[in-house]
């Protein structure tokens, strides 16, 4: 196993709005090795983006509260002051945001937006060098450097997302947080961007946390997979472990797979998960998934849910009770 780059220990995030407390992320434990690609999968409101933003201390200051440790290269990000975190943002950890249409500044040329990151993190760098690096990075993401003097509106959606990626990788980060990088794109363009990201990852050897709801992209891109539901990681393992249909999985994971229309098979009906994701301000007692779970038992409705472990694989579900001996 490689070196640990990032470790989340008992991370919880709460938002308070008008006195209502929303528990967006609950007791998340996660480890990421150098060069590893982790897929963080879940539906809207599962806490995926909140987890990613907490790694960069980008959560709103006065309405959110972060507990637990975020150890990045052994240092706790949660305890860092503004200056320390600023040195990490963009240079060691950077983020690709979901929507390329609204994340770029419309009044600056794209080349300037990439150059900004380089200038901030490399004091005393000459303008010539900056220009060279911008050209280099643009070539890496497949945009001709001659287009760096254009504005974001002159690019198509796929091209804008490439520029977002260029900004994110401009300082060769150790950890790249990609928040649904291809959700806003058409399938053929999505395939181009995913292919490019895979090649870049091989070249730069960065670790990646890919946030997505698309299990198809995960199967194509990731080494490890964490399934999130109601702010908890309910199942975690290698790609092979999670996509192994012969093994039992968390009922939510099975529901997710059942909900995807598969073009490989002809099924007359999908098997959806009934009900809705819970409101993080009123999480159900016991297992947060129990009101929607088909295999719900009496024991699921209250109390702590045990975690079944097997090596690095873990699954948080009562159905796995008795198998814990395999720790």
């Amino acid at each position: 196993m490689g070196e640990t780059l990032l470790e989340l220990k008992d991370l919880s995030v709460r938002y308070t709005t008008d006195g209502v407390i929303s528990r967006a992320v609950n007791h998340v434990n996660l480890k990421l090795d150098k060069g590893e690609i982790l897929g963080l999968v879940g539906e809207t409101g599962a806490g995926k983006t909140t987890t990613a933003l907490s790694l960069l201390k980008l959560l709103p200051k006065y309405t959110s509260e972060v507990d637990g440790e975020i150890l990045f290269e052994g240092k706790d990000i949660n305890k860092m002051d503004d200056k320390e975190i600023r040195n990490i943002r963009g240079s060691k950890i950077s983020m690709i945001f979901q929507d390329p249409m609204t994340s770029l500044n419309p009044v600056f040329r794209v080349g300037e937006q990439i150059a900004d990151v380089i200038k901030i993190h490399n004091e005393g760098i000459s303008l010539h060098e900056v220009e060279d690096r911008v050209d280099n990075i643009l070539t890496m993401v497949g945009i001709p450097p001659s287009r760096k003097r254009e504005y974001p509106h002159q690019f198509s959606g796929g091209m804008k997302q490439r520029i977002m990626i260029a900004i994110a990788i401009a300082c060769n980060p150790d950890l790249l947080l990609a928040d649904e990088p291809t959700t806003a794109l058409d399938v053929t363009i999505q395939a181009q961007v995913i292919k490019m990201m895979r090649n870049l990852q091989k070249e730069l050897k960065s670790s990646v946390i890919l946030i997505t709801h698309d299990l198809g992209i995960v199967a194509n891109f990731c080494d490890k997979v964490a399934i999130m539901y109601a702010g908890e990681i309910i199942e975690y393992g290698t790609l092979e472990e999670l996509f192994d249909k012969s093994k039992p999985h968390h009922p939510y994971t099975e529901g997710l797979f059942g909900s995807i229309p598969n073009i490989q098979e002809k099924t007359s009906r999908l098997k959806p998960i009934f009900g809705l994701t819970p409101n993080p301000a009123e999480l159900p007692e016991g297992c947060h998934f129990h009101p929607r779970c088909e295999k719900c038992m009496e024991v699921c409705k209250s109390g702590e849910v045990p975690t079944y472990r097997n090596g690095d694989y873990r699954c948080q579900c009562h159905l796995f009770a008795g198998k814990e001996a395999a720790v």
Partner: protein, 318 residues
């Protein structure tokens, strides 16, 4: 088939005027849709699929061609003349977040078409119908007096469905009804739409960018590229034997949730959708097509039947 199609379009065209020239949003589209069938319309953003949906409903004025509904030519019908037909043709919009009036309650939204078409005499009758519709689409009665912003995407889309069904239509254009929803909710809505179709004998045009969704719901599938029909075939045939290079590219671009495909580099199509403004002659896909020949860049390929019920517009396909 001797039966008259419920909806037929003949050489339907819709151009938009732009400062740079005419934008060919829908260019020569022929549809024959029979009662009780579902036609899936697939394509990437900007291929004209939503414009097509709106043009056949006459929410947009067509530029050229004919629209025939139930044997009657409705191409030049005026707004007033369309009103009785609106009861039979409805649309479900893509975005449940912006297509519902935020100042109306759920009951008001579903009731509105009933009022406009004066289907019931008393308010009580209308309200009974609203409740009936809500249970039909699986919305709990207690939401009658809530506003759209209080509900999540899945429930909002159910309101959109209930509203479209309020007048007992026979034909519904579904414009990406599930693309704004989460996967687990998407599956719920898709199942609901299929149940309603069987229950009420509906006919759908189902517009989407997601091939795996249309495969699930359609009888026939039409692939559009920059306003032109690229391929049309019964659902199974299209997936088993796609002929047009664009259809093939679309199919291979879908990430499959199965790890046995990992590492197998799917062929990634180069380039992006070209501009539909003043398109040059020839095949619209030629610029991105890996097999393009000289002929493809100069002669517009004819949309022809290559095997029974399987139509394709491509010079390469023999």
């Amino acid at each position: 088939m001797s039966e008259t199609p419920l909806l037929e379009t003949i050489h339907l065209k819709k151009y938009f005027d732009t400062p740079a020239g005419p934008l060919h949003a829908v260019d020569d589209v022929n549809i024959k849709l029979y009662k009780g069938k579902t036609l899936g319309v697939v394509g990437e953003s900007g291929c004209g699929k939503s414009t097509l949906g709106r043009t056949v409903l006459k929410l947009l004025e067509s530029t050229d061609g004919q629209i025939i509904y139930n044997g009657e030519d409705i191409t030049f019908k005026k707004k007033k003349e369309m009103l009785p037909l609106r009861r039979q043709m409805q649309i479900i919009f893509q975005d449940p977040f912006s297509s519902l009036d935020p100042k109306m309650t759920v009951a008001d939204i579903i009731e509105e078409p009933l009022k406009i078409h004066k289907l019931f005499k008393t308010k009580e009758e209308r309200q009974a119908r609203v409740v009936e519709l809500m249970s039909l689409v699986g919305l709990d009665e207690r939401y009658v007096n809530t506003y759209p912003h209080e509900l999540d995407g899945g429930r909002r889309q159910r309101i959109g469905v209930a509203r479209a069904l309020a007048l007992n239509p026979e034909f519904i254009v579904c414009d990406e009804p599930v693309s704004a929803l989460d996967v687990s909710i998407q599956a719920q809505i898709l199942n609901l739409m299929m149940d309603l179709k069987d229950q009420l004998g509906l006919t759908y045009i189902f517009i989407t960018h997601d091939l795996s969704v249309v495969k699930h719901i359609s009888d026939d599938i039409m692939v559009l590229y920059l306003g032109k029909m690229a391929e049309m075939a019964p659902s199974d045939m299209l997936f088993d034997n796609p002929l047009h290079p664009y259809t093939k590219a679309l199919l291979t671009a879908i990430p499959i949730p199965d790890i046995s495909y990992k590492g197998k580099e799917a062929e990634v199509m180069k380039g992006e959708v070209t501009s539909p403004i003043n398109p040059p002659p020839g095949c619209r896909f030629a610029a991105r097509c890996p097999f393009a020949k000289e002929e493809c860049r100069s002669v517009t390929p004819e949309f022809r039947e290559v095997e029974p019920n399987h139509f394709v517009a491509c010079h390469i396909v023999k």
